[in-house]
């Protein structure tokens, strides 16, 4: 028997060991970052493949939501900072060993690329909004400058594929970074697996695909992306299995971390919220839908999106519970 008492108090007792480092903000940010990465990857692939007729939602509508969601994610990230007025320090330096520094700069690349793709696709994706915006600008004092906008749109359309190529690479980087951010913390055994990079990227792609399914009006597009999502869900389940095998066959601390979700306190959260609600259930509904059963069309994609959020919540929490020291 070992009993450990901290006789003079350790600051950490206030926060409950190390659990209090990050609250809800970081999982929400990682989720929205993952969805944005998924959007960038899916939209870029649709554009690169020249499928704007076959996949109108993926090629023309989807990308609009990338800057919106990443901004919401960055707002959550900002709320998490405890020394908020000093946030600009992220952009006065680049720290090559810090995934967070990489992330800060990757986020900066997301905006220009997605804005250019929006310029190139907005007219086709949202014709009504485009017409309204156009007449609004013409009537406003900015009216005389609208030719600059036309010029920008023309240029963006001309170089659409090159921009989409860059968007694809940055989307993949963003998706992987949201996982590596956690996996680089050797002090938290549950996170300390590089497979978190691919896991979060695939989960992000799956949530991006779910958004296409939500937006698509065309039956062919819906069923294609439903099938694609099924593949992504299968891949995610496979990676989760590899993740657990990796932890369970590593050092004692990693085995203890694996035990958290293999019989320990986080077992229900992991298996019910992530695996059942977030992966198995939507996969089941998607299979039924592809077989021609009538499934309420919002159910599978909403479940996938919910599962993506659960994945981040459980992982961010579990990492903070797992530790090298017993106190």
């Amino acid at each position: 028997m070992t009993e450990i008492a901290i006789t003079t108090g350790k600051h950490a007792h206030e926060a409950g060991a190390s659990i209090g480092i990050w609250g809800w903000e970081i999982p929400v940010y990682l989720f929205l970052g993952g969805v944005t990465a998924g959007i960038m990857v899916v939209a870029a692939i649709a554009i690169l493949q020249g499928r704007d007729k076959k996949w109108p939602a993926a090629a023309n509508k989807l990308i609009l939501w990338a800057p919106v969601l990443i901004s919401a994610g960055m707002a959550a990230l900002f709320l998490d900072l405890s020394h908020k007025l000093y946030v600009w320090n992220f952009y006065l330096t680049f720290q090559i060993t810090s995934p967070m520094s990489w992330g800060a700069w990757i986020l900066v690349l997301v905006y220009p690329l997605t804005f250019l793709l929006i310029l190139a696709t907005f007219k086709k994706g949202y014709p009504d909004w485009y017409a309204k915006g156009e007449s609004w600008i013409k009537a406003s004092p900015l009216g005389p400058y609208i030719k600059w906008l036309y010029k920008a749109i023309q240029l963006a359309e001309k170089y659409k594929k090159i921009i989409a190529g860059a968007t694809l690479s940055v989307g993949v980087l963003l998706g992987i970074y949201t996982g590596i951010l956690l996996s680089s913390f050797g002090a938290r055994p549950f996170w300390n697996s590089a497979i978190l990079g691919p896991l979060f990227l695939i989960s992000g792609a799956s949530t991006g695909t779910a958004l296409v399914v939500l937006m698509a009006r065309d039956h062919g597009e819906r069923s294609f992306f439903t099938r694609a999502d099924l593949g992504l869900i299968a891949t995610e389940l496979f990676i989760l299995a590899l993740f657990l095998i990796g932890l369970a066959s590593s050092s004692q601390q990693h085995i203890e971390a694996a035990k958290l979700v293999l019989g320990g306190t986080l077992t229900p959260a992991f298996w019910i919220a992530i695996v059942f609600i977030g992966l198995m259930l939507p996969a089941f509904f998607e299979i039924l839908e592809l077989k021609g059963r009538e499934i309420p069309k919002y159910v599978p994609p909403v479940l996938v999106l919910t599962g993506g959020l659960f994945l981040r919540i459980v992982f961010v929490y579990a990492g903070q519970v797992s530790a090298w020291a017993a106190y």
């Binding site: 028997m1 070992t2 009993e3 450990i4 008492a5 901290i6 006789t7 003079t8 108090g9 350790k10 600051h11 950490a12 206030e14 060991a17 190390s18 480092i21 990050w22 998490d80 900072l81 405890s82 020394h83 908020k84 000093y86 946030v87 320090n89 992220f90 006065l92 330096t93 720290q95 060993t97 810090s98 995934p99 967070m100 520094s101 992330g103 800060a104 680089s184 913390f185 050797g186 002090a187 938290r188 050092s251 601390q253 990492g319 903070q320 530790a323 090298w324 020291a325 106190y327």
Partner: protein
């Protein structure tokens, strides 16, 4: 070139009585706010009565030679003092993202009421004046010894050569610089 200093502490668990003077001295010297601590005392009891053994350890930042809190910091706020292994935080560069706290296997860092992250500095302001850290200087049993581990004839180096010792969680791979004599 002058060899970099590797400051470390050697703490004798046979001498430490767990009085907590080190904790109080640190709080006073560094004006650490209420509820927060740069060092703390751990009592570890093993066995079942009547066969018991007990270790008492005064713990703090290990000023690791391979400090993950420095490599994970996105702004360079968390850094090592030039020419040594002393890990410090520059408040005006710190955004309070707490990546350093997530990366520390010893949970030696905390957020100040102002929002920036803080920790043990080995009292570098005292070292500059040729004094020991406050915790070492007040220890009534002289259990805490401080010095340069790169200096073969320093007291800490000689203690490590002559006594059996352990570091805390060396397997976390951070190359810690606080050692406990057993």
């Amino acid at each position: 070139m002058k060899k970099a200093k590797r400051y470390g502490m050697v703490i004798d668990m046979k001498l430490c009585v767990g009085c907590g003077a080190c904790v109080v001295a640190c709080k006073t010297e560094n004006e650490v706010p209420e509820g927060l601590h740069r060092d703390w005392v751990v009592e570890e009891v093993q066995g079942v009565y009547p066969t018991l053994s007990m270790n008492i350890r005064s713990e703090r930042c290990n000023h690791c030679s391979n400090a993950p809190c420095v490599t994970s910091c996105p702004t360079g706020a968390s850094h090592t003092k030039e020419g040594s292994n002393i890990v410090l935080v520059t408040p005006r560069k710190c955004t309070g993202c707490r990546a350093c706290m997530a990366s520390c296997p010893y949970d030696a860092r905390f957020v100040m009421p102002e929002g920036y992250v803080s920790k043990c500095t080995f009292c570098d302001h005292r070292l500059d004046q040729g004094m020991d850290p406050a915790c070492a200087s007040v220890c009534p049993t002289r259990a805490i010894r401080f010095g340069n581990l790169n200096e073969p004839m320093s007291e800490v180096s000689r203690l490590l050569k002559s006594r059996s010792h352990e570091a805390l969680i060396p397997e976390a791979g951070t190359d810690p610089n606080i050692f406990y004599l057993s």
